[in-house]
């Protein structure tokens, strides 16, 4: 890389960062005198909402013109057993990342399950194309470094919606980057060719989208505010994943005296 391209690259990054700062600052922070609006704003915890909504619409546009048609085609043309093979293969490739995070969270039983799954599915399951491990008592689970950070006590930070990657927050975005370093494939393809990681990313995206065609369609058509609904679904899903599905009911808001005239309880997921 020449010095010139390097500087240009840096310039683009700085400009993008600056743009984000400017747009984020434009977020409609309510009048401090309006207590109700300020409380609602803090509960939402989405200071960059205008920018987020812009990227949300951008992603929706690409979804409509490209991703959804491809996913629909994929679901319609490729037979189910082949699609399941692809899914199992991709899931098996994630094993090292899941194992690293199981271990970092001190979940040794789950780490054992991950190792057993990888061993069984890579051999008996023909390089991960099949998933006999689930039937043998080693069901699948997911972990990522965003969840590990949460287990370690890190708060999620404000909501962000990213182009292509979708809903996130600083904690989960950090996790997304760190997880790459737990993945042996990152080092194998460090100097290219990039076709393999790119293909993996694209096929995974199409497969995930094809599995959510009906669900997302239904949510979009039954929401008064699709963006806000997705935000809530993302946060709640993450909270559930972090607790490994064993959410305690102790964090639920106090609703004993809740009606139109009493004091307001906090939302389910307390913000940090």
């Amino acid at each position: 890389m020449t010095l010139l391209t390097r500087m240009a690259n840096l310039g683009v990054k700085a400009a993008a960062f600056g743009l984000i700062l400017v747009l984020a600052a434009c977020a409609t922070r309510p009048d401090p005198a309006n207590k109700v609006a300020v409380q609602a704003y803090e509960e939402t915890n989405d200071p960059a909402e205008p920018l987020n909504r812009y990227f949300f619409e951008l992603n929706r546009f690409f979804d409509i013109i490209l991703i959804k048609p491809v996913a629909t085609w994929y679901q319609g043309v490729v037979p189910g057993f082949a699609r399941n093979g692809v899914r199992h293969f991709l899931d098996n490739l994630d094993s090292p990342v899941i194992l690293a995070n199981d271990s970092l969270q001190g979940e040794w039983d789950r780490a054992g399950v991950t190792v057993s799954r990888f061993g069984i599915n890579t051999t008996v399951g023909v390089l991960g194309l099949f998933d006999p491990a689930t039937g043998w008592g080693y069901p699948q689970h997911r972990e990522d470094f965003g969840q590990t950070l949460a287990v370690w006590g890190s708060g999620e930070g404000p909501y962000i919606f990213l182009p292509i990657l979708g809903p996130s927050n600083p904690r989960d975005l950090t996790g997304f980057v760190v997880d790459d370093f737990f993945d042996p494939l990152t080092y194998i393809y460090w100097n290219g060719p990039y076709t393999v990681p790119v293909t993996r990313f694209v096929v995974n995206g199409i497969d995930v989208r094809s599995r959510n065609l009906d669900t997302l369609d239904q949510i979009e058509r039954t929401s008064v505010d699709y963006y806000a609904t997705v935000r809530s679904l993302y946060r709640q899903t993450r909270a559930n994943e972090i607790s490994n599905g064993k959410s305690t009911n102790e964090n639920l808001p106090d609703i004993d005296n809740l009606n139109f005239d009493t004091n307001e309880p906090q939302a389910v997921a307390p913000k940090k």
Binding site: Q39, T222, T237, A239
Partner: protein, 226 residues
């Protein structure tokens, strides 16, 4: 030391810990049982059976199914409390007239949305897996939907609250998502994005209900779901 007494002393600690464990376990059992709430479990069992039979009844037209589901909801959900919760910080914003219109709209909106969303679960069985009293007036009931086609069971948690001594549904959690919480996020967002104008939410709800009536919702029919 005779062989017998050696054995006895060697196994004494084992026997002692076994007895201790047994005592602790049996002491903790009644405590656990006391926290269970059979009345709440019975309530959820009845409501879910009725809901599934409404959704599975192929002879019902869409309006009939919505009417039946609405009737079930009126008798089993604490709609006032849910509606208040969904407004979040904006709860005291509506005027009396707006509040009454909002209550009616939320009820219709919930009926239309969930008749659609629940259509996935027709002809399935809901199995109660446990319950826990929460304070004097609330209970949490856990359950799962078992599928006949080999799909992974879906976890459903019911949050009940007593209203005049009778249990009512306050919120339902499906695979980790609290549904009233989800609506609250959307409702408050509409108000926030219209500078605190409550009528914006009313018109959004009206639009959604009109869209549903115009057939813009995905099909629900028992046979249409995969």
């Amino acid at each position: 030391m005779s062989p017998l007494s050696f054995l006895r002393s060697a196994f004494m600690p084992v026997a002692f810990s076994f007895a201790l464990v047994t005592a602790v376990v049996s002491a903790s059992m009644p405590a656990q049982a006391a926290n269970e709430d059979p009345a709440a479990e019975k309530f959820v069992g009845e409501i879910s059976t009725q809901a599934i039979s409404i959704i599975s009844d192929k002879s019902l037209s869409r309006p009939d199914r919505e009417a039946a589901f609405g009737k079930l909801l009126d008798g089993s959900a604490d709609m006032q409390r849910i509606a208040a919760f969904c407004l979040g910080q904006y709860r005291s914003l509506p005027t009396e007239a707006q509040k009454n219109e909002y209550l009616g709209l939320v009820r219709n909106f919930v009926v239309k949305v969930y008749v659609t969303r629940l259509s996935d679960y027709h002809d399935e069985k809901l199995q109660i897996t446990g319950s826990q009293a929460k304070g004097a007036n609330q209970a949490i009931v856990t359950s799962q939907i078992n599928f006949t086609n080999g799909r992974q069971p879906v976890q459903v948690t019911w949050w009940l609250v007593k209203n005049n001594g009778e249990y009512k549904i306050f919120d339902v959690n499906v695979v980790g998502i609290w549904l009233a919480q989800e609506q609250r996020s959307a409702f408050t967002s509409v108000i926030s994005n219209h500078n605190g104008d409550f009528s914006a939410l009313l018109s959004h709800l009206n639009t959604q209900i009109a869209d549903a009536d115009a057939g813009k919702l995905p099909p629900t029919a028992a046979g249409a779901a995969q």
